[in-house]
Symmetry: C2
Subunit: 429 residues, 2 copies
Amino acid sequence: MALTEKLAEFALGPVAGKDALQMARLSALDWAACGLAGREEPVARALLSLAEEEAGAQQASILGGGPRRPARMAALVNGTMSHALDYDDTHFAHIGHPSVAVFPAAMAVAEREGRSIEDMLQAALVGMEASVRFGVWLGRDHYQTGFHQTATSGAIGATVAACRLLGLTPERTVHALGLVATRASGLKSQFGTMGKPFNAGLAASNGVEAALLAQRGFISSPAALDGEQGFGPTHAGMEDDSAWDGLGCDWLFETVSHKFHACCHGLHAMLEAIATLRPGLDPSQIEAVSITTHPRWARVCNIPSPQTGLEAKFSYRLTAAMGLCGVSTASLANFSEETAADPALVTLRDKVMVDFDDSLLETQSRVQVVLAGGKLLEAAHDLNAPISLEARQQRLMAKAAALIGDNEASAIWDMLQGGGITALVAVLK
Amino acid sequence: MALTEKLAEFALGPVAGKDALQMARLSALDWAACGLAGREEPVARALLSLAEEEAGAQQASILGGGPRRPARMAALVNGTMSHALDYDDTHFAHIGHPSVAVFPAAMAVAEREGRSIEDMLQAALVGMEASVRFGVWLGRDHYQTGFHQTATSGAIGATVAACRLLGLTPERTVHALGLVATRASGLKSQFGTMGKPFNAGLAASNGVEAALLAQRGFISSPAALDGEQGFGPTHAGMEDDSAWDGLGCDWLFETVSHKFHACCHGLHAMLEAIATLRPGLDPSQIEAVSITTHPRWARVCNIPSPQTGLEAKFSYRLTAAMGLCGVSTASLANFSEETAADPALVTLRDKVMVDFDDSLLETQSRVQVVLAGGKLLEAAHDLNAPISLEARQQRLMAKAAALIGDNEASAIWDMLQGGGITALVAVLK
């Protein structure tokens, strides 16, 4: 069976997997919050300006409001915007960001078609699962060669979601997947530029385009993903067919990771450990703080006395002080020149020592706090530790609130529980 | 100097090269005729339908009429439509079709900007030259791996043309070229499907998109074409830097090939030879015909008794009869069931013998015709034989007339001599 056929069958099949669907719902909240918060980024402004120039049919909403746009354009803008802050979810097996490629496509087509939230979430879940597994199928060689899985596998996932929401037949879905094989693109050499978030927009938009053209009778090659000179063979794909084991039963998407701190990933384990010490802690009583992490991070995020917001994102000492003082590290706005210069934080920062220990994993950190009178507080954290759906929900709500405000975050979460897509897009303005 | 910088300098520089510009003018006629004739193809209908659904700003015309569309969409539709018949020009060193990727972008942006025909032709020439040289730079490995140079190099050429017509600065042009590196795509595994002509539309549309976003301040990576994990290194590019020798002085585009017969390329040398025998020939006097060609073609285009229009396109015997009887092989309409069943043609067809000789080149053919009374006529042709600009013009006018009618072809050619773009697009409806 050609890979297009296998994926088409999965794309249109029933979705049983309550936890996976709840995970998709949580990612939808996270995606929307990141997108709304990213709207003022320069790359988002460039895309919004192009959308304004082209105008066209009012089919699908842009995060943050304004006139609706053709579905293909809404997917391009929302995909780019939601990856602009690089604060969205990550799937490490896939080596990519599933939400920013798939949700913009699913949302745009669901709105164009007047579908329910539940339909949209199911389609997004199926699309993200397809993108994660396609990413695993392509493997590390694809990534190491220089392709950006978020963009390439993401386009496959976006196509799957769009076809499902359009209600295409299996045969038409096969042609959409064959078509997106010639359209999918995205290079890692864009990292550090606006091209990185744009790659997510490309994926979403390419998926919508392929599905809409297949709906119109477009004939492509069913062998275009895994056949001779198909996408995998031409793009350094390792073509690991074990990627498809359990497709339709097990959900790799369930192991997606969410970012809870708006700073370098190397700081996250420390911040998680500090959070456990925070209840009841009086920062004025702190005499000394000792942080221990893996040596890899020494040259990544150990700026001892940061001066700018950007430098603050790469500083163990300052972010430790923020965490101990209860200054939210989930809020982008808190990574500022003002924070870096805040006298109370600077005083505490200067009591923090950072040590490295190669017996720790890169995902682990230990924290010791000495209080006045000599009392010692200790905590440790490993980012690989499992987290329940309920705890994840609480944390994502807090993150969303920090990004877009309590009311907005709650309204989105409420709307994600069910109903028609129109009610959801109304709160995304 | 990064390749984006080298190309930006070329993109915006002066164009001296009268013959090259005349060649571009001839290709513009050929491109427009192929596009207008391709409008009823199923792939064109699918794209036109998507354009109708999306609607939007009326910036650029679609070949064959209807409302104007956003420049990016017009480029997508016109690029696809003009490659739908596979009857447009080819550059063998580039291994691609320069016109269908670049003219749709140049025309769309020229119309959006209200530029002159001369500006449009210069931009298209510069864009096509960039695409040809980028194709040479990528080399045969890129093509053999499975990438479709028409789409990939074509996107670079389309970007060059669009940036020139938008009047971008060198710095903004560098960012457009860096950006299109992450957007360019197109696989040969689409050959034989609607995906092949679509690849040309992608190239044109990607170029317009990259230029419009760069105009809005988009920041990309200047190293994204030839730097680490850039387009060349990630896409099996051979990176033959001799491709850039003489850039701005010599025009590789001058060696572009035009198709003069609406059938398999393997028949063209024979048809050219027959054309030299045709003046004064009375087909009723023909007793026997002998064709000799390279053995490669034996299994490509030697259907002895074709029944359908498609089979007729792959038949030495029938197309020889058509040529000897003066039935135009430049006209698509003549490749029909009726032609294949025409009694006079079938009678003559049955007098044709086909032989193969591996001392001939693939581009060569010999023809012998024995007349009643025993008189022998002989001719030979090599497709590599040079053809003057004047002769080429005559032939392209005849081809265009066969595709879209005398009046339409003449009107387009007249408009291509100068003036504003509006007058040209008015005759392309």
